[in-house]
Amino acid sequence: MEIRIAIQHPMETGFRRDATGHEIPKNVINAFSCRYNGVEVFRAEMGSGIAANPYLDFYTIADASGELIFDWTDDSGQTGSERASIVVSG
């Protein structure tokens, strides 16, 4: 099973400056994980080399019906979460 997720986030590198010349602090989603019925099946550590609105495409074996939970944290400490249900038949 292929899982594709895109998260809306600027992934600020810390190298840019705003219109007044002040440095915009680095703020990227540094940690992302995917749990499948409570078990972690994928985890990513990301840096400023990942493009804005990070997109991840990965695989997992669909062995049971249940729920996929996606969690992420950025440098500012803000967290996000998303879930998806899956039904496996036969």
Binding site: E45, G47, G49, P54, F58
Partner: protein, 144 residues
């Protein structure tokens, strides 16, 4: 024209120096992952466009040849771009439950360079694959 050319020289020189220092740091970062174990080439396929005209978002696909069974699987995949200001783009951790060791994402590239992928396998071996990308408009340095 002549003024422009003169101005470009110190800039180019400083970027080369920066690139060399970060290439060294990629070796150090890889050594940290492998713990000094030999890094073999092969099994890792890194797919990137040969030419990136928008280096703020470059499609990347990495796959590792592995049966992905409970006894023989890929533990992690690490991505490096030596000429980026922060070379370690991302680290991905997977396991036999992935079924397939393949990940796609979109990256930023600061300059024309070789991107390196290192895979850690469950038997303690390490494999690498690389791809060259020509960048026509660099990310990170401009104000956009």
């Amino acid at each position: 024209m002549r003024f422009a050319a003169l101005a470009a020289i110190p800039l180019a020189a400083s970027r080369v120096a920066h690139a060399q220092s970060t290439t060294d740091s990629v070796d150090a970062m890889v050594a940290k992952v492998t713990g000094g174990a030999p890094l073999k080439t092969g099994r890792v396929k890194l797919e990137l466009p040969q030419l990136a005209d928008n280096s703020n978002s470059v499609s990347l696909k990495v796959s590792v040849e592995s049966p992905m069974t409970s006894t023989d699987y890929v533990k992690s995949i690490h991505l490096y771009a030596g000429k980026n200001p922060r070379p370690n783009i991302a680290n991905f951790y997977l396991g036999p439950r992935a079924g397939r060791a393949q990940i796609a994402t979109r990256i930023r590239l600061a300059a024309t360079q070789r991107v390196l992928a290192v895979a850690a396998l469950s038997d303690g071996s390490f494999y690498s694959g690389a791809a060259d990308v020509a960048v026509t408009g660099a990310a990170c340095y401009d104000g956009s």
